[in-house]
Symmetry: C2
Subunit: 162 residues, 2 copies
């Protein structure tokens, strides 16, 4: 009685619920990026710069190819923002030691400062939402979000076991 199998089309998969899911993503992402965008504008940077700074900060010593795989944009598009960040001293490139064709990317002090500033804002937003929702809801959020991510990138995240 307690363990009735969920039917093929359970209640939470009604059209309206799925639409709501779509809208939640739209509004959440819109507001999630809004604040950082303002900060970036003060530096003359855009969202693309933020992504680069973020992921390089998260994976110091990563290669340009690594970054391209994550961002899923062309190297020409990346080159534009990456070049600016390097020239303005937010990111340094050094040749790979094993493979000297590679350019290993990391943040400078300046870059790390900006990264902290930007990420701090977003962390605060996530923290507020997490706190308000509670630990259990956070687990649910993780599961659902992971399910929307393609298999390759899903494996970037540590297994759901906490």
């Amino acid at each position: 009685m307690a363990d009735i199998k969920t039917p093929a089309n359970p209640l939470f998969l009604r059209e309206d619920d799925l639409r709501q899911g779509i809208e939640l993503l739209f509004f959440a992402y819109r507001d999630f990026t809004a604040k950082a965008d303002q900060t970036l504008a003060q530096y003359g940077f855009g969202r693309a710069h933020h992504r680069v700074i973020y992921f390089v900060g998260r994976n110091p010593g990563m290669t340009v190819s690594d970054l391209l795989d994550i961002l899923k944009i062309t190297k020409q598009s990346l080159s534009r923002v990456l070049g600016q960040l390097v020239r303005q001293g937010f990111i340094i490139q050094r040749p790979g030691t094993i493979d000297r064709r590679q350019r290993l990317l990391s943040l400078t002090e300046l870059g790390a400062d900006l990264e902290r500033k930007l990420t701090e804002e977003q962390r605060a937003l996530v923290a507020r939402a997490y706190k308000a929702a509670g630990a259990e809801a956070v687990d649910g959020f993780r599961k659902v979000a992971l399910g929307m991510i393609n298999d390759t990138d899903r494996s970037r995240f540590r297994p759901t076991t906490r």
Copy 2:
């Protein structure tokens, strides 16, 4: 023993967890939009067109101002894509009956067809993620996502009570 209050800084608010939350949003949104973008390209449309088609489909008879409030872009930006959609017969405008300055927006048959096609893809993605995560996780996802949305737009969603 079972009802220990969560401390001021519970485990799921550790820096790494918050970063993970940030990344989940980034990857989920990236993959969430990828498929529809491909379909749109076949029509010579972009993501901006999709948003307009989506929200007009969702709120038939909405005004231009309503749409601007949701999208949070300028009327000049909206005008570009809205104009194309109207001229190409995806959306019709009719003057408001109470306030004749308003232009009430709705989808034509053609627009509704495209809306269904686009939304169907995203609904399938959300459905897959929801199904894999389970009803409880979906509730958690909703709570967290709602917490990231500003107060005004949060009230667009029906109360969390199911």
